[in-house]
Amino acid sequence: MTTHGTPLLRARGLSKRFGGLAAVSDVSFDVHAGEIFAIIGPNGAGKTTTLNLVSGLLAPTGGTLELQGVDITTLTTHARCHLGLGRAFQVVQPFPEMTVEENVLVGAQFGSRRVSSAEAHERAEAALDRTGLTGMRDHPVEDLNLLQEKRLEIARALATQPSVLLLDEVMAGLRPAEARLAVELVKSVRDEGVTVVFIEHVMPVVRDLADRVLVMDHGAELAVGSYAEVTADPRVIEAYLGVDDDEDAPDHDEDARRAGNQGGDQAGDQAGDQVAGRAVDGARAGEDGGATPPEEAR
């Protein structure tokens, strides 16, 4: 785990209650500059809510958020955007009535401090180029297929010139080959100095991309660490495999941890694969409306 300098994004005790339901409770994490940070967890764990709290679409009921040392807890979404938070949505939400280029232009024109029209067009063009959408620029967004819509989500967010890019399940619903392209895109974005925070169900993607992983369950933070560390964590395995969900006695925990320690890395890897397999199934089964299978994509 790298912990050098002030974190770029810092969450402390982040909580969100909807009436009696604690969607997110007391979640803390640090994201460092240049990192790719994954948030994983079973369906309903509070991942998207956490991202909504970070981007300002929801107001937290507790906790604080800092971006580059600035307290952003009470800032509006557009103020956070101007400070460098970019966001791509799980459920693709292009602006209808606009072309692909116009969609990206919104981010380019308003995403950071005021820029000239020419500069905004340059930024939009660069973002379209990055995401391979240049050929579709003049098409209405209705013409895009799911992969292209996901790319448009990323292009719009990139056009705002973010220092932190928040990606919500950009791989969901993509074919393996498409997902590989998306993984390459995320890597290249990071290589240009953009810090990435992403939610993902597809575990191989997490393994390939993430420097560090935050595992959430029932709105709470379950574990933070490298992919190998968290997938070896018995609590994580439990959360995914659902062993004795409600009655995890402490001694049971102890047993699992001992088992993990004895097996060392290998056992950890095996557990990781188990978790991975389960998670992929989960992702396929529970694509809660956000991910249209490619066959059904327009």
């Binding site: 955007c81 602006f95 209808p96 606009m98």
Partner: protein, 367 residues
Amino acid sequence: MSRLGRDLLVTAVFAVVLVFLPGILRGAFGQASVSYLSLATNAIVLATLALSWDVLARTGQLSLAHAAFTGAGAYTTAVLLKLADVPLWVGIPLGGVVAAVLAFGLGSVTLRLYGIYFAIATLAFTEVLKSAVQQLPTAVAGGAAGVNVQTLFRPTFVPGEMERWEVAFLRNQSYFWVYAGLLLVAVVISVIVQRSRLRSAFTAIRTNEQVAGVMGVNPARMKLLAFVLSSFVAGLLGAVEAHRLGSVSPDGAFAVHTTVLALVTPIFGGLYTTIGPILGAVVLASLEETLKRTFSEGYLIGYGIVLVASILFMPRGLVGLLSRFGRTPRRDRPGEGSSGTTAPGATEPPDGARTAAHAPLEAGGRP
């Protein structure tokens, strides 16, 4: 030339046409030109009203308060004239300013209201403002009876030098030019909005306000800006109208009819465009005049039938109808497209419904 430059050039040509139109009509029709000129005046008044309403609608704010702002403009200049003898050339611009200030206030409290709730709040605002004006001391605003104000133009009849109809023509011509000036203000505002980054912002807010915010657009600021621009023009229009009619009354100045015209005309002509509301105004004003002459009684029935039919069969208005036959493919006119919230029966492209059908955001903590 930039698209803004091109549009402003077209506007300038349009302005020149408006300047010479009365003279052309007079040369062509002689005495009959008086009624043609008043028809043209009705059309540009309606166009100004419609265009100013459309600018606000581009942000998704479907206002039923347009009469409140024309009324505010009318009463501002009337009361200033009555109490302080403020000259018209000061009173009329102040009418626009007061309307804009009221719009800022109303806009600030309705920022979080959408669709029908916003519409109802703005309608209520109109009624409240009307009652408030009515309750003012009679010495200030004349109560329910209103106030008489001086008219802008009173050409005098000089026997022997001109015919009687020429006096009417000269008066109408002066008003025509003033209204043409107001229409140009509205057109320039509309063109600047359409050809700057404001169009991006307005369209983004109209179609998905939350995502617009995430993209860095400040929805509150943009919605208020649209409100202020829209109401400033409406206030000017109301103030000039007061000085044409020569009197201001609560029922006349705050008439619901004004609001209805302000929204029907852009829907008929084509929403979210500069040309649509103008086209709609010209066609509707001509239609009304023709029907009125043909069936002196009950012409409004015919007028209503035409409106209902147009909404059913031209969901994107005249502009949509024309572009269907024109050369422009759909993508070249991004300002258009029905929002689905305004025109009942508007046929959205099937995919357009998709975005609306999704919950705006997964706020329920379901990752």
